[in-house]
């Protein structure tokens, strides 16, 4: 019985999102048919383009790398009860800061330059999202709206500096900052076409998961998120926890931007604003804000994104097809929250639940 009590909630937290994913895939199949394509063909192409070959799998992993981090940017503040949707702006500023750091450290040893870029980029993202946490606790400003506004401001700052004061005169048709230099780029994982960013993302997710699950930090955060007043009574400094959680989320988003510069682009330009921040919201919600689950979900969404080009080339479908699929998944996943705790098969018959009726 004890084993069942431990197992059932886990089974529920996996089964409901999986069912929701299946429903979303059915709905997308209907959409695909409505626009005159064959769902079988679309899904087999999505599989081939995402996971079907070593090449496409590596392509998916490449796209999953920033998604793990932007997913954490949503999942960590969510532990403290915040809905942060401004990862894109933190990523943009992280990229800008990393490019500046890379260019100004140029000449030092590559490892120092790389560490400097990642640290400065992450810090910049942390401050940006941390600001949303600060505004929420000390000014009462809703963090969802403030983080999105800050996101637009962050992207505008990136565009301003890239096209203006920090523009490298040599970058003619694609305005960019000065290149960080090939020697300072972060290389690929041994034997793969995937850069070290993936490893950094996975390590960050695992560390976060361990901290949240096995230390009192996770418990304190959830207390703050669940009932700030009770947390205050228990002697927790709610403000520190709120700002800290937002800052930690921003660190992840800023790191994602820094990695984009240090491993992919080689300089900051408008291409780093590629929607990873918004896709990270989806990743975190499918993963139910669990940092460990963020890893497989990011790979899944990365695969869907990577396969978008395949749909475009083979079936001449617009590249927004994968956006539609993601949108449908998102809506169904959020709506499936209503099933949480209401399906009878996941209810253990235990002495406790027999005495205390669960709330409807």
């Amino acid at each position: 019985m004890k084993l069942m009590q431990r197992f059932l909630p886990v089974a529920e937290s996996i089964a409901i999102p999986v069912m929701a994913l299946l429903v979303a895939m059915l709905l997308f199949a209907g959409f695909v048919m409505a626009v005159g394509q064959s769902p079988v063909e679309v899904y087999s192409l999505l599989y081939q383009g995402g996971f079907g070959s070593a090449f496409s799998l590596q392509n998916s992993l490449l796209r999953a790398a920033p998604l793990i981090l932007t997913g954490l940017a949503v999942a960590i503040p969510a532990q403290a009860g915040m809905v942060i949707i401004g990862g894109e702006g933190a990523l943009a500023l992280g990229a800008l800061a990393a490019a500046v750091a890379g260019a100004s450290l140029n000449g030092a040893s590559p490892h120092l330059v790389q560490t400097g870029m990642l640290a400065v980029g992450a810090l910049c993202g942390g401050v940006w999202i941390g600001l949303s946490g600060w505004l929420r606790h000390y000014r009462g400003v809703n963090e969802t709206i403030s983080s999105l506004l800050l996101s637009y401001i962050g992207i505008a700052l990136l565009n301003f500096f890239v096209e203006g004061p920090l523009k490298d005169p040599a970058s003619l048709n694609k305005p960019s900052t000065a290149p960080i230099g090939d020697a300072n780029m972060i290389g690929n994982l041994p034997g793969m076409d995937v850069h070290y960013g993936l490893l950094f993302g996975v390590i960050c997710a695992l560390i976060t998961w361990v901290i949240l699950k096995f230390t009192t930090i996770g418990f304190a955060l959830r207390t703050v998120g669940g009932n700030p007043r009770a947390a205050q009574m228990a002697g927790l400094k709610v403000g520190y926890w709120i700002v800290g959680a937002a800052f930690a989320g921003g660190l992840a988003a800023g790191l994602a931007g820094a990695i984009e510069v240090a491993a992919v682009q080689g300089s900051a330009n408008a291409s780093v604003v590629a929607g990873y921040g918004y896709a990270g919201i989806l990743v975190a919600f499918i993963a139910r804000q669990n940092p460990f689950a963020v890893i497989p979900v990011a790979i899944l969404i990365g695969g869907i994104n990577a396969a978008g080009g395949m749909l475009q080339r083979r079936l001449d479908m617009p590249d927004a097809s994968v956006m539609v699929l993601q949108g449908i998944i998102f809506v169904v996943i959020i709506a499936s929250e209503t099933l949480n705790g209401r399906l009878r098969i996941f209810k253990p018959v235990s002495p406790i639940s027999a005495v205390i009726p669960t709330k409807p």
């Binding site: 949707i85 505004l135 999105l148 637009y152 927004a320 993601q326 949108g327 998102f330 809506v331 709506a335």
Partner: protein, 310 residues
């Protein structure tokens, strides 16, 4: 007499005035719609997606039918459908209206980009403006006073809503449902149907706001058409303290901020283009910070609104 040149520096405030009216119309329509939704105790962050769907649908139908006004109607209907979806899903237990809003933002944007792909090139019939400047010889004044009927409809709607919220039975029902679901139930008002209806109306107006973007100003369909205007409108309702008439003034203020970048660019000041474009976001954030407080709920806030409840 060359009046056009003679206008000189007076052209600058005139350009900002004209720009403010042009740019503010979508803000006005979306924020009035969101005002109705929020009065009922719900919040629809998905209006960003609704706006862009409305812009796409309006453009497409105008292109196919040859009538811009049919396009506006179609945009409104598409918007109400998305509003209905939001309203129904939020009525499920344990489903968070902010999360559903974000997901509808993503879905609407995806659908609009997908279905709007063939609409990037062709030119659809546009909405016509009413030339209020006919009395003047100056082409600048004439063009500044080209006012779109949707702006006038927005003003009329703001006034109408102001009175409807205060003095009609319908407005009363909406406010009670938004302030306390328990009180509404006690009075025999249907809570969920009222909220769903309010969200549908909000979606309709947001869709029409989107049609203004694609059919009048800037007047074309492309993927960067709405960059956060739906979200700004949500913040603008908070700033307006859920008062329709204040939505009008707030929209004009934001329209002016939004017109600043293009107006300065037209005068040859191009260096800070991206920074000036960020002006509405900075303004929104600044106003939110200035008007919020951690110690009290906002004056005039509907009691059931999750956004302002701490």
């Amino acid at each position: 007499m060359n009046v056009a040149d003679g206008l000189g520096w007076w052209g600058v405030p005139l350009a900002i005035f004209a720009g403010a009216i042009r740019v503010s119309t979508p803000y006005l329509l979306v924020s009035l719609g969101e005002c109705i939704t929020e009065k009922s105790g719900r919040i629809n962050l998905g209006l960003e997606g609704v706006l862009i769907m409305g812009a796409m649908a309006g453009y497409g139908v105008s292109l196919l039918s040859g009538s811009a006004w049919l396009g506006v109607l179609a945009a409104g209907l598409v918007g109400s459908l998305l509003g209905l979806l939001h309203g129904l899903l939020c009525s499920l237990r344990r489903v968070n209206d902010i999360a559903i809003g974000i997901s509808i933002m993503l879905l609407g944007t995806g659908l609009a980009f997908f279905l709007g792909k063939p609409l990037v090139q062709p030119q659809a019939p546009m909405l016509n403006a009413i030339p209020f400047g006919f009395w003047s010889d100056s082409p600048q004044i004439q063009s500044a006073l080209q006012i779109n009927p949707l702006f006038l409809i927005g003003i009329a709607l703001a006034v109408l809503l102001h009175y409807a919220f205060r003095y009609t039975r319908w407005g009363m029902q909406l406010r009670i449902v938004g302030d306390s679901a328990d009180a509404a139930l006690a009075l025999g008002y249907p809570v969920l149907p009222t909220r769903i209806f309010a969200t549908v109306i909000g979606g309709f107006l947001a869709g029409v706001g989107g049609a203004f973007l694609s059919l009048y100003y800037p007047g074309s369909w492309n993927e960067g058409l709405s960059s956060g205007q739906g979200i700004i409108a949500v913040a603008l309702v908070i700033f307006s303290r859920w008062e329709p008439l204040r939505c009008l003034w707030a929209s004009l203020l934001f329209g002016g901020a939004g017109a600043l970048g293009p107006a300065l660019q037209a005068m040859g000041i191009t260096s800070g283009y991206y920074l000036f474009n960020a002006a509405p976001y900075v303004l929104t954030l600044g106003i939110l910070i200035a008007t919020s407080s951690p110690h009290r709920t906002l004056v005039g806030a509907p009691g059931e609104l999750s956004l302002v409840r701490n």
